[in-house]
């Protein structure tokens, strides 16, 4: 099963490597991974999407908690949360297709963020399913390049807030 884990970690060199090393060393999968500073510059948030049965997910969470620099691990799949991902899609946009592409971008509430004589670059945001649906549609045209951010997520409750003393 797919699980989205939200990790609060100390913002220090090598921490990401400890996390990814744990996954590769123990044979766990990473589907996507997103890292950036939080409002507290000493703390970063890693949002990580992984897959596994119940026992593997439990082991992943325990092993992550064992890392000294990992402050908190929350499994967002167990609680209500919001998930978003962004993709930039560069697509060949010839005159005959431009209108149709724009219509679809509009339906998916995306944006064209760059236009060149041959290409559109489209920005689209949503959960992974929405992105995949859009990408599938765009395959009817010619996709040149895609960059996806991977999932970021937050729980709707207070679960991943840090109490600082």
């Amino acid at each position: 099963m797919r699980h989205t884990l939200s990790l609060l970690v100390e913002n220090q060199p090598g921490v990401l490597s400890r996390v990814t090393g744990l996954f590769s060393g123990r044979g766990f999968n990473i589907e996507s991974l997103c890292v950036a500073e939080t409002i507290d510059p000493q703390v970063s948030r890693i949002t990580l999407v992984t897959r596994g049965d119940e026992q593997i997910i439990e082991q992943i969470k325990k092993q992550l908690n064992k890392l000294i620099n990992v402050i908190k691990v929350v499994d967002l799949s167990e609680i209500e949360s919001v998930e978003r991902e962004m993709a930039l899609i560069k697509i060949k946009a010839t005159a005959e297709h431009r209108a149709e592409i724009l219509r679809m971008v509009d339906i998916f509430r995306g944006k064209v963020v760059d236009v060149s004589p041959l290409y559109y670059t489209i920005e689209i945001t949503g959960d992974a399913k929405k992105l995949e649906a859009f990408i599938e549609l765009m395959k009817n045209f010619s996709i040149k390049e895609i960059a996806r951010t991977g999932t970021v997520a937050l729980p709707r409750s207070k679960k991943t807030e840090l109490r600082r003393n």
Binding site: V9, E10, P13, G14, S17, R18, G21, L22, G25, Q55, E58, Q59, K62, Q63, N65, K66, L67, I68, N69, V70, I71, K72
Partner: protein, 570 residues
């Protein structure tokens, strides 16, 4: 007061009450060695950095204190990796300090540069690269704290040369602030109550005790008290040997691949298993889905990730073994029904006795035949009164030592259980001898393993550390040969060690004493003589070349499927 980084290292080690460091200097750690020159800290100069880490490990296992090793950058650092991984697998508290090239050169492929923090990330509990001398004291404080608390483990500090030379104010912090590190010591009482209820209803209970019982101060006494009060039979993992008296009537012997028939049968037939400070290693469980099929499992461990990792557990208890066992004892005393525990377990204990009678550990020593290794270990046990600290190498020697030396107390067996490091025993024995100069320290070795760190003879002789090494010399990499004999149609691919040195002469060349026994009648005399000499001794026992370790469970088979020297039991 401003001190250089090198001085801060020494002052911090003194604050941590470090009395000995094992190591070998080099260009990138020379500044710390310069400060060591005038310090009261004892230094044991090794001949290979792997030896330094194993010595620190042996010191730590024998004393319970944090072992410290110090080496230079590059090859000095990489040579420590096997020792660090050994300590990591067996949860041994170490602090390893490695020199590093100056910060400006890091990443430039400088002379003797290696990314040791990157290399050791998966085999340390934590590691540090010091980038600012102002953080050095805090890092050392944290390193010792992390190494010795929770589930212990090795911590590495990589210390660039310019940091050693830069000055900073020295204030050793009183406490550590680690928001992501809070080990659970206190066992949850609700879980303890559940465990007690299971045990109160059990008809065929077994305690399966591992190394955690040894590392948790006082847990071994609690375990013994609990077993005796409630008539609970106990089996030990290799790492747990010594946590329960090896000559106790409730002791079943070691379990697992080379466990006793009794222990493996008992664990397979039990209805409630109390696992404490053990981690269900594959060498213990054999085939997982046939391991203890009828058992409800209670698992006490300080490391939550050890619980339900390999085997699903019914009552998980996270906490320190001592704390949990103490609480469980009270809970068992206060069970609602008035239980006659002796009567309740009578039938089960009778069954266990029967198993022990049917298939006790056995070997035959023909009076005129070649020496049997089991006979040597039994004689060692007898002539040392079972009072020695015993290190082992890895392989057949390790298993015979585990089976035939009946360990009575915690911290008397030093063995590489998790990683299975050949070459571990001799330096570990030296480390233990440093900690206990007046105790008898033995290394039970094979002719293969002893050659993997034989250079440390110089360290033993030079520091007057009278370690006694019993080499069970069969001319083979014996355990691999045994597998080849049993599972690879006797195709002895690269397991014969025909060109080994004369170990007596090797010992003598280093200034130690070498003795040899080739007949069973000579064994006792050689041991007696070795024990009477106050110097390192190599005892070369020329043993039956193709003797096997039995019982043996083939890898991946259920543990009831034991080979007992020819017969297969199902």
């Amino acid at each position: 007061m401003k001190l250089t980084g090198a001085q801060i290292v020494i002052e911090s080690l003194l604050k941590e009450k470090v009395d000995v460091v094992f190591g070998l200097p080099g260009g990138a750690i020379i500044d710390v060695y310069d400060m060591l020159y005038d310090s009261p800290i004892r230094h044991i100069l090794v001949r290979h950095e792997q030896g330094a880490v194993h010595m620190a490990d042996g010191y730590a296992r024998a004393t319970g204190k944090v072992g410290v090793a110090m080496v230079t950058s590059g090859p000095g650092a990489t040579n420590t990796v096997t020792g660090i991984a050994t300590a990591y697998m067996d949860s041994i508290p170490l602090v390893v300090i490695t020199g590093q090239v100056p910060t400006k050169l890091i990443g430039n492929d400088a002379f003797q540069e290696v990314d040791i923090v990157g290399i050791t990330r998966p085999c340390t509990k934590h590691n540090y690269l010091v980038k600012d001398v102002n953080e050095l004291a805090r890092i050392i404080k944290e390193a010792f704290h992390i190494a010795r608390t929770g589930r212990p483990g090795p911590v590495l500090i990589d210390l660039p040369k310019d940091i050693q030379q830069t000055k900073a104010d020295f204030v050793y912090p009183d406490e550590v602030k680690l928001p992501g590190y809070k080990p659970t010591y206190h066992a949850n009482l609700r879980q303890i109550k559940k465990a007690a209820q299971l045990l109160a209803r059990a008809k065929r209970p077994v305690i399966y005790a591992g190394g955690g019982v040894i590392y948790s101060q006082g847990a071994s006494e609690e375990l013994t008290k609990m077993a005796e009060s409630f008539y609970l039979p106990v089996t030990n993992t290799l790492m747990g040997l010594g946590s329960f008296p090896g000559n106790h009537p409730l002791w079943l012997g070691m379990l697992g691949m080379h466990g006793t028939y009794t222990a493996n049968m008992a664990i397979s037939c039990c209805d409630v298993m109390l696992a404490v400070g053990a981690r269900f290693d594959d060498r213990v469980t054999g085939k997982l889905d046939e391991f203890a099929p009828e058992a409800k499992i209670i698992h006490i461990d300080i490391d939550p990730s050890s619980i339900s990792k390999n085997v699903r557990v019914d009552v998980p208890i996270v906490g320190d073994c001592y704390d949990a066992l103490k609480k469980l004892f009270k809970a068992l005393q206060n069970t609602e029904e008035n239980i006659d525990w002796k009567e309740k377990h009578h039938e089960w204990l009778t069954q266990i006795e029967e198993w022990s009678r049917e298939h006790a550990l056995a070997y035959e020593q023909p009076p005129d035949g070649p020496i049997k290794p089991q006979f040597v270990v039994e004689k060692l046990y007898e002539l040392t009164g079972g009072e020695a600290i015993v290190a082992t190498e890895v392989g057949q020697n390790q298993m015979w030592a585990a089976q035939y030396y009946k360990f009575k107390r915690p911290r008397t067996l030093l063995t590489s259980g998790g990683l299975g490091t050949m070459g571990y025993g001799f330096p570990a024995a030296i480390g233990a001898q440093v900690a206990f100069p007046n105790k008898l320290v033995l290394d039970i070795a094979g002719d293969g393993s002893i050659q993997m760190n034989i250079q440390e003879l110089a360290t033993a002789v030079g520091n007057r550390l009278p370690v006694k090494v019993a080499i069970l010399n069969n001319g083979y990499l014996g355990m691999v040969r045994q597998w080849q004999q049993l599972f690879y149609h006797r195709r002895y691919s690269q397991t014969s060690l025909e060109y080994s040195p004369d170990f007596v002469k090797v010992a003598e060349a280093y200034g130690a004493v070498g003795l040899r026994a080739t007949k069973p009648q000579e064994v006792e005399d050689v041991i007696k003589k070795a024990l009477s000499i106050n110097a390192p001794v190599f005892m070369d026992f020329i043993i039956e070349p193709e003797e096997n370790v039995y019982p043996m469970v083939p890898a991946g088979a259920p543990i009831t499927k034991m080979l007992l020297g020819g017969t297969v039991l199902v």
